[in-house]
């Protein structure tokens, strides 16, 4: 290690120590504190704000895992994080300060002391703690007197705002009912002195002991005006439900709690335009409602009581008036009216003996309007007449309990009669003589016996490869056949062309004949045949008569088709050899004939190539 290396190491160490010291100092600068707004006394009807602030020259990431250990308080929302930073000139140096604030919205659960314990705040890698805060909660008075608090995040500009007046009221009609009788529950929000910007439920109750049907509600479209204590309110229906008690006794519709955000005009045109007025949040709770539920009387209860409570009527219709034996006929029975039919049993149907009845299919619907629940339930039976004749359907009966009269009722409807004919058209209809044999009823045809093996392929010959091959073959062969046919016709029409095409074949045939003569040592005949093969080849090829084809004429014809001079020379030499050998006995040696034959074949082949 050199002296220079030691110097660099010392500088780096000094920088590292300096950085760590700066970090430590920055961490030492951090402060954390918590407070509630507007003050340590709150009421249990209005939410208030809890703020946790971390301040210092540099504030790293701030977080709180969870607000736990709250006494008599619950968290409505949060945390909402805000950050700010500023610079201040002190002497000659510019100093920076920053803060991060986490805000929660809390609500006291009831009057009495409440406490926010010391909170663990994670600031970067450090954990800091706030002081515990003690709060006194008083009973809130929903409405103008207690007044909704300012919006916890609204800031100082809301401090002088007059509180808006909001109420939440629940009503049940009726409060005394029979088991199964629908009860209409409506919750209304009343607001005065501001516009309701947002409404949300806080922990809605479960409504045990009731079968509940929600009813659609549109608060803005259905809002009305109301006057309470001489003060005008805008009334928003925020919930409608139909409650059907399922057991007797005293039942309670528990309190509903809602959080309402109200914005009101300040009268300042600038503030209203740019800041949309002033906002506040209120929490309101309805009073619980007690409902007395009476059991249905046993006296006068019909045996076929359907279980429905309300007021209903029944309609029964057959889908046709005429049918044949074994036809399927639809009987549709609809029950509709005020009340719930979800659990109602099917109406009583006393079908005649000669009609087979299948299990009904059931459909139904429920709707609620104007404080009433309306139900429709339809049963569809399939009837199959078994014998011809007139079938008179007895009335369909539906019994229910009428809560307005406190008595059981029964409604009935006759579906009418049905004329059933035999399975086959009657003799008159078919125009045959009376007494003709007719089928008494229709039935399916009998099963098929096994003859031969079972098929695993089924139809669909077009899916098999052989079918595609049978389609492809004629289509592919068609152009070939057409071309061959045309070629043949052309040869038939053009004799010169035909001779020319046949020339080589004929010449080779004659050379084979010459070869046979050579085998018989018939030299004169051999050379005559070879010479004839060559001459007639040229005559056929040029569509000329072989009679007047001299050496010179043959040479000219070959030259006219571009046959080169050496080949022409070989052709002429071969011809001269043959002519000479026919008359000169010394040249009839066998080996000589084989050379001549080979030469003649090569010449024909070479001439064919030069076409």
């Amino acid at each position: 290690m050199t002296r220079r290396d030691l110097r660099i190491g010392a500088v780096l160490a000094a920088l590292a120590v300096g950085g760590a010291w700066g970090e430590l100092r920055a961490a030492d600068d951090l402060r954390v504190r918590a407070w509630v707004e507007p003050g340590p006394t709150v009421n249990d009807a209005e939410p208030f704000a809890l703020a946790v602030a971390v301040e210092g020259a540099e504030v790293p990431d701030v977080s709180i895992d969870r607000l736990t250990g709250l006494t008599n308080l619950r968290v409505l929302s949060g945390p909402f994080k805000s950050q700010s930073s500023s610079f201040e000139l002190r002497g000659t140096s510019l100093q920076r300060s920053a803060s991060v604030i986490l805000r929660y919205t809390l609500l006291a659960e009831g009057p009495g002391p409440a406490e926010i314990p010391s909170l663990e705040v994670r600031v970067g890698s450090r954990t800091m703690r706030t002081e515990a805060i003690r709060i006194q909660a008083v009973r809130g008075r929903p409405g103008a007197a207690a007044g909704p608090q300012r919006h916890p995040r609204a800031g100082a500009r809301d401090r002088q705002a007059e509180p808006a007046d909001v109420l939440l009221r629940a009503e049940c009609r009726p409060t005394e009912a029979w088991i199964g009788q629908p009860i209409f529950l409506e919750v209304v929000l009343l607001a005065a002195g501001g516009d309701v910007e947002r409404f949300s439920w806080l922990d809605p109750p479960s409504l045990e002991g009731f079968w509940v049907e929600d009813v659609a509600v549109d608060p803005n479209a259905e809002r009305t005006r109301a006057e309470i204590g001489g003060r005008p309110y805008v009334s928003y229906p925020v919930m409608r439900r139909v409650l059907v008690p399922t057991s007797a006794g005293d039942l309670e519709v528990a309190s509903f709690t809602g959080q309402i955000q109200v914005r009101r005009s300040t009268g300042d045109l600038f503030e209203d335009f740019f800041l949309q007025g002033r906002g506040s949040i209120a929490v309101r709770t309805t009073d619980p409602i007690r409902i007395r539920v009476k059991p249905l009387p046993e006296q006068g209860k019909p045996e076929d009581f359907s279980g429905a409570v309300g007021s209903f009527r029944v309609r029964a219709t057959l889908d046709r008036r005429e049918a044949r034996v074994d036809d399927a006929i639809g009987l549709r029975v609809s029950v509709e009216g005020d009340g719930l039919l979800e659990t109602a049993r099917a109406p009583s149907l006393d079908a005649p003996q000669d009609v087979k009845v299948f299990e009904p299919k059931t459909t139904g619907s429920v709707s609620a309007e104007r404080g009433r629940i309306r139900s429709t339930k339809t049963w569809e039976w399939v009837l199959v007449p078994l014998h011809p004749g007139e079938v008179r359907m007895p009335p369909v009966r539906f019994s229910y309990f009428d809560p307005s009269q406190g008595a059981f009722r029964e409604v009935r409807e006759e579906p009418g009669s049905l004329v059933v004919r035999r399975g086959e058209p009657s003799g008159e209809e078919r125009g045959v003589a009376r007494g003709a044999i007719r089928a008494e009823r229709k039935d399916i045809a009998f099963i098929k016996p096994l003859r031969g093996e079972l098929s695993e392929r089924g139809p669909g010959i077009h899916r098999r490869p052989v079918f595609l091959a049978f389609v492809a073959v004629p289509l592919l062969a068609l152009p070939v056949g057409i071309l061959l046919g045309r070629h043949r016709a052309r040869l038939r029409k053009d004799l010169g062309l035909a001779r020319s095409r046949r020339a080589a074949a004929l010449a080779r045939r004659r050379l084979r004949a010459a070869e046979r003569r050579a085998a018989r040592s018939d030299g004169a005949s051999f050379h005559e045949e070879v010479g004839r093969a060559l001459v007639e080849y040229v005559a056929d090829r040029f569509n000329r008569s072989p009679a007047g084809l001299t050496y010179d004429v043959a040479d000219e014809l070959l030259a006219s088709r571009g046959v080169e001079a050496p080949l022409r020379g070989r052709f002429r030499a071969c011809l001269e050899t043959c002519d000479f050998a026919r008359f000169v006995p010394e040249s009839r040696a066998e080996e000589r004939m084989a050379d001549v034959l080979r030469e003649a074949r090569e010449i024909v082949t070479a001439l064919e190539r030069s076409r």
């Binding site: 036809d327 139809p459 079918f467 057409i482 046919g485």
Partner: protein, 250 residues
């Protein structure tokens, strides 16, 4: 090794419908059960035959009969429909299908079909797609052979020869169009409701509104499939989505 040799056949027998019997034997056993009035047993035998991969109209037809006897209208319609596709010209299949449909709850108004179209369809069904395919093949070969023959003949195309070719091509075109039409009709994707009733919804999912209720045995044309749901339509224009598990595909 002996133990393995003993276990293997048992395992194979459990995995396949019945290794001991051939499809034909099981089919005959089903027929015997049907004739003895044991319709459930017969239906199970026919189903076993189908598990072999057999595509025979007789099996589908007999299974349709057995399902009808045991009160399963939807399954009966499904198998008669399949039998009608495998043997379009079989009058028993048509008769049974018509009768079983008359016992189903739903009645769908079908658009009126002109008499000539009905006649053509009846003729197409009697012939079936395979016979039409063979006829098309014969006409194709005849037309190609005629063209080649005229190319080889020295006199070429005379007016009479051209008329013969035109007739062959016209006949081939008609048979080909009929074949394609029969195929598209027979191979159209169709489903049959198997449950006593199903709710046909506006979209593929239980959260969608119920448009109408379809009952057992109703035939539905399949238009689309999406994540276990089928978009189906009826001849009267109604359409919606049903769970694929509630219907059987023809």
């Amino acid at each position: 090794m002996r133990l393995l040799a003993g276990i293997l056949p048992i395992a194979l027998a459990a995995a396949s419908p019945s290794l001991a019997e051939s499809p034909e034997e099981i089919f005959s056993r089903g027929n015997s059960a049907y004739e003895a009035g044991r319709f459930d047993e017969a239906a199970e035998a026919y189903r076993s035959v189908l598990r072999y991969g057999v595509r025979d109209a007789r099996v589908e037809y007999n299974l349709g009969c057995a399902a009808f006897r045991t009160g399963r209208l939807g399954e009966s319609v499904l198998h008669f429909e399949r039998a009608a596709r495998l043997a379009p010209g079989d009058p028993d299949v048509r008769t049974n299908l018509e009768l079983v449909r008359s016992r189903c709850f739903d009645r769908v108004e079908e658009p009126e079909i002109a008499a000539p179209v009905r006649w053509v369809r009846a003729a197409q069904d009697r012939l079936g797609p395979d016979r039409q395919a063979v006829a098309l093949l014969v006409l194709l070969w005849a037309a190609c052979a005629w063209i080649v023959a005229r190319a080889w003949r020295p006199e070429g195309w005379t007016p009479a020869a051209a008329w013969v070719l035109a007739a062959l091509l016209a006949a081939g075109g008609a048979v080909g169009a009929s074949w394609l039409s029969t195929r598209s009709r027979i191979e159209a994707p169709v489903a049959v409701v198997l449950e006593s009733s199903i709710e046909v919804r506006a979209g593929p999912g239980e959260h969608n509104a119920v448009l109408f209720t379809a009952h057992e045995g109703l035939g539905l044309s399949i238009r689309e499939e999406r994540s276990g749901w089928l978009q189906v339509s009826l001849p009267n224009g109604l359409n919606g989505w049903v769970p694929a598990s509630a219907v059987g595909r023809v």
